[in-house]
């Protein structure tokens, strides 16, 4: 007994020190993201349950086969969505670089990488707007599904309902992420962080932005790949 007490003198939970060793706002951002993860998880598991309970399901390679400015009837499955995925991954990378620049109190770097991140987010939103518009003009919307099942049988509206709800919810997260990033950029430009002496707000915005990328990894896999 005596030996263990001497080996662990830290007394993590006895007060006087931060047990998580992060600032309050960052911890709360983690908690928020955890609750958001459960929301998205509930959506995706509900989608999976309905898909498992259906005898047929549309072929994603048949549904998502078009590309902007491509000739009518072109067959390019997975191409457009891979472009969207790479846009989001790259914007996530520029976000980490912005956080990194913030650690070094490098205002110029923060501004540069935040602008790149915002452009990436806006490009992703543009791609999604094009895809939604394209699907809408093919007759797909909530409550209406023009696509057939993989085996040529009639498909229910579950497919479009889940697709528009989940990608819409994700797209709304991207949209709010872009707004948050724009606010961060303005705060960086007006020297708010320089006055505070730290760029911790960039880290919190970065956590949110990476979470949006993380959710897209799951949405991309569940809707477009498998």
């Amino acid at each position: 007994m005596s030996s263990t007490t001497t080996v662990t003198p830290t007394k993590m939970w006895n007060g006087g020190k931060s047990p998580f060793n992060v600032e309050y706002g960052k911890l709360m951002m983690w908690y928020f993201l955890m609750s958001d993860a459960f929301t998205f998880g509930a959506f995706l598991i509900s989608y999976g349950t309905i898909r498992f309970s259906s005898n047929g399901w549309p072929d994603p390679n048949e549904v998502f086969k078009s590309f902007p400015f491509a000739p009518e009837g072109m067959n390019a499955p997975l191409v457009f969505v891979s472009v969207m995925t790479f846009i989001l991954i790259i914007s996530s990378v520029t976000m980490v670089l912005a956080v990194h620049a913030g650690h070094n109190m490098d205002k110029k770097g923060v501004v540069k990488y935040m602008i790149m991140t915002i452009i990436g987010g806006a490009m992703f939103l543009g791609c999604q707007a094009w895809e939604w518009n394209h699907l809408y003009h093919e007759g797909a919307w909530w409550g209406s599904n023009p696509f057939l099942n993989h085996d040529g049988t009639a498909s229910s509206t579950n497919f479009t309902n889940y697709f528009f709800t989940i990608t819409g919810f994700h797209g709304f997260h991207v949209f709010s992420g872009v707004i948050i990033n724009i606010i961060m950029l303005i705060m960086a430009l007006t020297n708010k962080f320089e006055e505070r002496g730290h760029y911790l707000m960039i880290e919190k915005a970065g956590l949110y932005w990476h979470f949006v990328d993380l959710v897209w990894v799951f949405v991309f896999t569940c809707f477009y790949l498998i």
Binding site: T10, M12, P19, F20, N21, V22, L27, W30, M34, A37, G41, I45, S46, G48, T49, I50, R51, F52, S53, S54, N55, G56, N61, P77, L78, S82, T85, F86, I89, S92, V93, M95, V96, L97, H100, H103, G139, A140, S144, N145, P146, L148, H150, D151, G152, T153, A154, E203, G206, L207, H210, F211, D213, L214, V217, F218, T221, Y224, L225, I226
Partner: protein, 148 residues
Amino acid sequence: MEHSHTEQHEGGGTKEIWKVTIILTVLTIVELVLGFWMMDMPLQSGLRLAVKGAIVILMMVKAFYIVAYFMHLKHEIKNLIMTIVVPLALFIWFIIAFLYDGNSFKNLRNTYDPHYKEQSTIKVEKKKEHKSGEHHSEEHAKPSEEKH
């Protein structure tokens, strides 16, 4: 614990960022290659299922790299990592229970609702206006039943 205290906000240099970027890019390309390869496989084949499983594993690996390195969780102290990761373990149960439930519902319906099963085997013509496809098949199916 003391060790992680001293280096809590190190890690995550630009070198690590580029390494993770390359890993994520490569994983995505592998996923896409598997996706293209899967297209020509028969619907119910075991190989198709195996490829889907591989894609899901790659998805989890990508999620790990984003959370651990981009979101910096790997460089936080153990208390925080456990607080975030342990509750998410509920998903293991969620996924198993709900997907099993969905599959069981499908089997029950196919066993006890012959009409539902028959409806889901009727082939519909391609390139129809929305909803009209379902109507046509029902119109064709009903009169033929009445005549026989």
